[in-house]
Symmetry: D2
């Protein structure tokens, strides 16, 4: 733990800086998949931070699937994240960027369900147009940031409940930070990766078109969970 030093931070939370430093050591291979992390106590001492800060950092690493806590046995590295993650996002910001995922899953899963039940044919056409624009952007080698956001917003609009798109708009900055990390890695990734991502979006649209609410929710959750895994699991990064 000797070479772990708290770098000077500006606005980031201590727990996020700690998260970033543990992440860097997993990426660099200091801790390999299956390795046990130092105990909470040892991390407290090495970083000179309080126990709640350590707990918060470990909890976030677990929420992002990077470590596993085993009752009574400690915390273990789950797998190596893709190298590209730290190239696209500074380590101390990764936790913060990923945190919006949980909110998106809660909100957008329900948006897709309600859109499938209520969308007019005009709203469906708009969703399909947004998907076509996103696909076009990805195939042109662009990140498709604006197009991706517009797609998810079109689904929120189709709920017939203006509060959903209003909340999504209020999260636009955070969602775009997240999408920027994800789409940059996608842009540099394989052709197969781009096709996978387009297909995940198309599954959502198909379920909304067929008015299958439960499947629209399923495919939305699948897409968001998989997107997080592409960011955090080297085995998904191809």
């Amino acid at each position: 733990m000797v070479d772990l030093q708290l770098k000077p931070a500006r606005r980031e939370k201590l727990a996020d800086i700690l998260y970033g430093q543990i992440l860097e050591q997993i990426v660099s291979g200091t801790f390999a998949a299956g390795d046990r992390l130092p105990s909470e106590n040892d991390i407290c001492k090495a970083f000179e931070v309080s126990r709640p800060v350590v707990r918060e950092a470990l909890q976030r690493l677990q929420a992002d699937g990077l470590v596993i806590a085993r009752q009574g046995a400690g915390t273990f590295v789950s797998h190596k994240p893709p190298g590209g993650l730290l190239a696209s996002t500074p380590p101390e910001q990764v936790a913060s960027v990923l945190r919006v995922t949980e909110v998106r899953i809660a909100l957008e899963t329900e948006c897709a369900r309600l859109a499938a039940e209520r969308r007019s044919s005009g709203e469906l056409a708009e969703i399909e147009a947004r998907l076509a624009a996103f696909e076009q952007a990805l195939l042109s080698g662009e990140a498709g940031l604006e197009e991706d956001f517009a797609f998810h917003l079109a689904i929120a609009n189709a709920t017939g409940n203006e509060v959903f798109p209003a909340v999504l708009e209020s999260l636009k900055g955070r969602i775009e930070d997240w999408m920027r990390s994800a789409l940059n890695m996608t842009r540099l990734g394989s052709e197969e990766r781009r096709r996978t991502i387009v297909e995940e979006h198309r599954n959502i649209v198909d379920a909304i078109a067929r008015q299958q609410a439960d499947q629209a929710a399923l495919y939305t959750k699948f897409h968001l969970v998989e997107a997080r895994r592409r960011l955090t699991d080297a085995r998904r990064d191809r």
Copy 2:
């Protein structure tokens, strides 16, 4: 349909005004439980509004449980709402006030799940303190508006993800409009009603305390669905 006239509106959407007028006629007994509403076509003509406006109003009435659409047979009144609803909220605002429910269900169900998994003992103590304050307010004959919001915010804080409380704060005005309608009716309601509401909150807290994520989500959804029914179903208004 003759006496249904579009009253002058300021900022409300046409669909919400139409919703309010149909609601008034259900409350007044013009349409009784089990009655079929006029067809979409007839409502279009009587209100001089377009079909999408009628569809939106009917969809919202259905979402709020007030009417039922039967494939090929039309739309039927489900049950009478409590008289107190229109005393506490102008008819043309009811749809708008209730719309936040769907967003609360999506967000707060997930907040409760994550809070149960992650809350520190300090966060649990804060949630319990907020519940005690809310209970105290209700028992003193107050509406408990601030206390109710503070309770739900404390759960969002316990997720360890600052985006959840930030979204809740951004919805504070809308959530308080909703709570104002609900709590005013509660304040004037029976002692049993107040006990029921406190118990619904306590169930959420108990599940968070016992770290049962799935039950915390269940009791949160139950509470929000029941709160909407107390507003919209006379049989729940006691």
Copy 3:
């Protein structure tokens, strides 16, 4: 732990016998709410059983809400179960009786969702008739075992998928063991308790009648979770 002795068992699993003995000590007050149970190691030694057996017993106690495991701190008693539980069910059978709850939640939540979407008016009438018969039995001071099962079976039939009622029928013996424990306590319980139980059933029927699939699932899950709590939590036993 000295007075904990493994009683001779016939067909029960070791883990279930251990569960029953810990349960008895919680009921008797040897372990009070908030107390820490002996460590896995100590229980292994005291009962002369293997670690997997201890783990299984503790896991089931946790699944039934009787104990809470705190990461790194041990396992704590959550609350006292009602005295009536051990009067209606031998301690070594409680775990087994309660295990069917998890399967019922999985199956019947989905049955209620599909029944709400698909029930014919004839199927709805049958569900309502089963509820009336169950209510009648409860009010006559009977346990209503047959009537309760018939009610839940009628909902499974209304899914239009014969596999659901076939599975429920195949579980009839286990479900009736569960219902026998629950309904015996109900029969001896208060008038309010009987009204609560009827209302939980009625909520399910109302949602199926209004074709609100999501609410039918919610009220079914709520009913089954609450039924388990009435069996296992003295605060719910009134």
Copy 4:
């Protein structure tokens, strides 16, 4: 509708025979994607069956995603099923074979969730061994029927609740009919298809290994929904 004639049936339900005949006409192209089916009335007359039979057949076609009901507008063909479906399964048995899917989704989603929370390392090793055997069978050009069932059973065993595997065993015949249809098409399908199917299974195992209950449930539901779509949607059949 003239050439639709009720073929002599043995044990199949009338609604299943009608389902099969409509299915055949969608496969043959008599009804193309987007086409409106004849009205309930017209089908009643053409098949000389009662309205409930027609409703049941249409409801099942909708549940399997083959048709879409539009409020007030009728029932429309969603998409063409793969030709291989009728080669692997007699048309009048397709509805019955597919019906077990809904029960599997309800049961196995919950099994995966509980297995992720509770599995011992021995149970995890068993699940991984079952996956390896299934993968081996698929790669050897076999259907992998026994291996597929054994995999899903291993997850049910890891719930620590013997009722789950008991129910799965009681459904073995029906699940194997379903798997036989699916795996036969897979065996004749592309290498990519086999890889997709193995990956869907591996995602479930990974989530159980990482103890992520919510993701284990998500990936299980995704797998079962996708498996049904591979059987019923030509665009998924490759």
